[in-house]
Symmetry: C2
Subunit: 80 residues, 2 copies
């Protein structure tokens, strides 16, 4: 019973941690929507903005991948 | 030119704000994955946990809906 009570408490603790983090995440999503709404209010096309944000993310990912590959080759050749 | 420079700066500012918020959101998603990993490490079934989290969210939404409806009826009847 003591052990089962402990397990229940652990489970509750994990679930509540997840819920708190999900709430914070939802708040950030709302903030993001608000930034887009503000931009729309100033006449920017938010559909294009969303596309730009996606493309910049892809660019960064490709850049990092390229950097990692370069690192690997430089290490392999003892240049780093 | 001055106006176009201003518009460019506004656009850049909006895009960078979105990117910062998206980064914070991604960090929270990573935190959530970590909580689940920790729970899995203690022997909890995370698939069931995820289901529980979804069901509790639904419960809360239904409860809030019910509360809002009650509020509406009480107000309509001058009881609030």
């Amino acid at each position: 019973m003591a052990k089962s009570g402990f397990v229940k408490e652990r489970l509750r603790s994990f679930v509540e941690r997840v819920e708190r983090l999900e709430e914070e995440r939802a708040a950030l999503s709302a903030d993001i929507r608000e930034v887009y709404a503000e931009a729309r209010g100033e006449g920017f096309d938010t559909k294009t903005m969303r596309q730009v944000v996606r493309m910049r993310k892809l660019d960064r990912a490709q850049f990092q991948e390229q950097e990692a590959m370069l690192d690997l080759y430089l290490s392999a050749l003892g240049m780093r």
